[in-house]
């Protein structure tokens, strides 16, 4: 026995840096505390095998003892958990292989003690050292509430520290307490004895709060004492004002992603083009230089060009989330969306999808239930993304007489609206036919108190989330772009790509496209393209568009031998397209029927390998990503053929 006692305070074990997990219910203020404790030096990581991200970092030296801090996802309930909750529960129960914390910091919202203490009981029951960090105490005056912290800590038998994620107040004491708690054996306490059953647990917590007299509340029975929140809710969820306010916020979100990001995107695009050209011009005629300049730098550029949109989207989303509005917006639209099998929160990814499917897929993370998240990701490729815009512009210009610009505008608006309708139909049908077991998840969504957003943490969080996009999506997108470059620049006929003056950094070389692998592929595909009413040249355009849809336009320009800048290409290209005929015949390639067929094809098909790569990463399922690609592209093809043949049958050539 004596030997065991001597071994207990083993110095090497104690000297190692502690790993501490921040746990708590959602909206407890974990993220801003994490920010404060690490001094903002945190990075995101992914758990192996799942797509849940978490942030980790070392505690800042000014708060005392150094520790490894891990911020794990918030948990509402361990029953029917979302992927995030499931993972957090595994870590709490000590069943996770990679994250084995020495101690927990339980972040609890002091304004909602009953619920947060009940959850604290769940964590304490695991028998690990635990320190409670009380947040949101700055809201006490607003809620006419106060908590006697020493009394409460006494009653619970656990160390308890008041912290403020904004000012850093309490951080040093918190870490000191964590160190102390981790060094001592975990004592039996009231919190650990809290019953597992929710009804019993709540009863015990209620009793405890009453008996200890720690909670001094002036709130009348249930109606939230926070008048500000009640007042704002009455306006933003108002029967008549609710939706107009929602649409204004939505329009702002859309405008920011669509237009505010544009100058940055153009800047990045120009910078990468210039860098690519620099490499090419440094070694003229060198194949490797062209591969590096166009294929690789172009590919990296294709990743980087989405970055501004993603930063802006995450910034605005985090702001909406933190202020408390996001949950209200989701509540507003939950009824129509849940009827389709989606979730109220699906609205953010769907709107983002009109800018670009890639940030939208990332935005789907905010949907709590797995099934509804997957269904949202499933329909995102239908949302008319901004890369389709130049394609539609070209095709509509070819279809409609030039003098009536408004008809093109109207048609474009129609396409946008139809894409939303198509998304709704596909979601509804998928949830009813494929996911036949039509079980609905529980909404029961917490509407947090309205708070003024804190800029610094929001900046940091959105930066972290955006840079995780670069890490996760970057490699596959670069690889695919490089592969497509090789396909369109090499062929059996000529093994050296033709030296061409590339004015804009398109992925496709100027002159030799016909002999390239992509060109061959276009020829091979001709029998398949025939029902769509187009020839191999359009086929090459369609193949190259898998790098990014807008590449279709520049590929068409190359293949129809139209030179010049992108701006003055269009009239020449239109001229060429109008006169283009099938080889050795006088039959026109671009007729109203085939142009409409192409629009239909672009409307449905998932012509974007970047999206496929990101979906694969996010869903952690190649099967999901590939079936999505095949479904939409196949559907687009069938629909296009049906339109072309149907129109021809009706006498429209």
């Amino acid at each position: 026995m004596g030997a065991v006692d001597l071994l207990a305070p083993d110095p090497p074990v104690l000297a190692k840096t502690l790993t501490v997990c921040l746990v708590g219910m959602p909206n407890a203020g974990k993220t801003s505390l994490m920010n404060q404790l690490t001094g903002g030096h945190l990075h995101t990581a992914n758990y192996p095998g799942v797509t849940v991200t978490y942030s980790r970092g070392k505690s800042a030296s000014r708060w005392g003892p150094e520790m490894h801090l891990v911020d794990i996802p918030g948990v509402h309930s361990p029953f029917e958990p979302s992927p995030e909750e499931d993972l957090a529960c595994q870590i709490i129960a000590g069943r996770h292989k990679a994250v084995q914390p020495d101690a927990f910091i339980l972040v609890a919202d002091a304004t909602q003690l009953e619920r947060h203490l009940k959850f604290a009981g769940h964590v304490a029951r695991q028998g690990r050292p635990l320190v409670v960090a009380l947040t949101m105490t700055d809201l006490f005056p607003r809620l006419r509430l106060s908590v006697d912290v020493p009394k409460l800590a006494d009653a619970l038998g656990v160390p308890m520290v008041v912290v403020d994620g904004r000012t850093g107040e309490g951080s040093a004491e918190l870490l000191a307490q964590v160190k102390l708690a981790a060094e001592r054996p975990v004592p039996m306490n009231v919190l650990r004895r809290l019953p597992e059953d929710p009804v019993e647990a709540y009863r015990a917590v209620d009793e405890l709060l009453e008996r200890s007299g720690a909670l001094i509340s002036a709130r009348s029975e249930v109606l939230t004492a926070d008048r500000i929140t009640a007042r704002i809710d009455r306006i933003v969820l108002h029967r008549y004002f609710g939706f107009p306010i929602f649409f204004v916020i939505l329009a702002g979100l859309f405008a920011a992603i669509f237009w505010a990001a544009r100058p940055f995107m153009e800047g990045i695009d120009a910078a990468f083009s210039a860098a690519g050209n620099l490499v090419i011009e440094a070694l003229p005629g060198n194949v490797l230089a062209r591969f590096v300049g166009e294929g690789l730098i172009g590919g990296v550029g294709a990743v980087a060009v989405f970055f501004p949109q993603i930063v802006i989207l995450f910034f605005l989303m985090t702001m909406l989330e933190d202020s408390g509005y996001l949950a209200r917006g989701a509540a507003l639209v939950d009824r129509p969306l849940s009827a389709l099998g989606l979730h109220g929160r699906s609205f953010v990814p769907m709107i983002s999808g009109f800018a670009c499917a890639i940030p939208a897929v990332f935005a789907a993370r905010s949907i709590p239930s797995h099934r509804e998240r997957l269904l949202t990701i499933w329909i995102l490729p239908l949302m008319s993304c901004s890369a389709r815009l130049p394609v539609y512009a070209l095709l509509l210009a070819a279809l409609l007489p030039a003098h009536a610009a408004w008809t093109a505008g109207f048609s474009l608006a129609g396409i946008y609206l139809l894409s939303l309708v198509a998304g709704a139909l596909v979601a509804g049908m998928t949830s009813r036919l494929v996911l036949r077991k039509r079980f609905l998840s529980v909404l029961a969504m917490e509407l947090p108190l309205y708070r003024r957003p804190q800029w610094k943490p929001i900046f940091r969080v959105s930066w972290l989330r955006s840079s995780s996009y670069l890490k996760r999506a970057g490699v596959p997108i670069v690889v695919v772009s490089a592969a497509l470059w090789l396909l369109s620049n090499f062929g059996f006929g000529s093994h050296t790509p033709v030296e061409a003056a590339v004015s804009s950094a398109t992925l496709v070389a100027q002159a030799d496209l016909e002999n390239s692998f992509a060109g061959r592929l276009g020829h091979t595909l001709e029998p398949v393209l025939k029902p769509m009413g187009v020839d191999w040249r359009v086929g090459v355009g369609l193949i190259s568009a898998f790098a990014a849809r807008e590449v279709f336009v520049s590929s068409m320009a190359i293949i129809f031998h139209v030179s010049g800048d992108e701006q003055d290409q269009q009239p020449g290209l239109l001229e060429q397209m109008r006169s283009a005929t099938f080889a050795n015949t006088s039959q026109h390639v671009f007729t109203p029927a085939t142009i409409i067929g192409l629009i239909v094809f672009f409307f449905f098909s998932l012509q974007c390998f970047s999206t496929v790569a990101v979906v694969r990463k996010e869903t952690n399922s190649s099967r999901f990503a590939v079936s999505q690609l095949l479904f939409y592209t196949g559907f687009g093809y069938v629909a296009a053929v049906m339109f072309v043949q149907g129109l021809r049958f009706l006498g429209v050539s």
């Binding site: 509402h76 309930s77 361990p78 029953f79 029917e80 304004t111 909602q112 009953e114 619920r115 009940k118 809620l143 929710p198 009804v199 709540y202 009863r203 709130r219 029975e221 249930v222 109606l223 939230t224 004492a225 929140t229 009640a230 809710d233 009455r234 969820l237 108002h238 029967r239 008549y240 609710g242 939706f243 949950a327 989701a330 509540a331 507003l332 939950d334 009824r335 129509p336 849940s338 109220g344 609905l440 529980v442 909404l443 029961a444 969504m445 917490e446 509407l447 947090p448």
Partner: protein, 84 residues
């Protein structure tokens, strides 16, 4: 009117049938087991005071106040909650 009458008699009613902005007490939860367990974990336990604050513009979900917080509950979920 019907709902008011029944409350007057002290009988149990579903949370979808109650008057807005009035306090009630949860009697029991009657719905799919796992779903109800989740509601219990959120603090919707028997004996607790609850109030429907308002409906959203489309009538669904309802905004409910409980334990000092607000929840958005679908009518389907609110129908499982019997109150007095």
């Amino acid at each position: 009117m019907d709902a008011v009458l029944r409350i007057g008699l002290g009988a149990d009613v579903r949370l979808i049938d109650v008057l807005h902005r009035k306090a009630y007490r949860i009697v029991r939860l009657d719905g799919p087991e796992l779903d109800c367990r989740r509601l219990l974990d959120l603090g919707l336990t028997p004996g607790e005071a609850i109030s429907v604050v308002q409906a959203t513009p489309l009538g669904d979900p309802l905004i409910v106040a409980i334990r000092g917080t607000r929840l958005a509950l679908r009518r389907r979920e609110a129908a499982w909650i019997w109150v007095q």
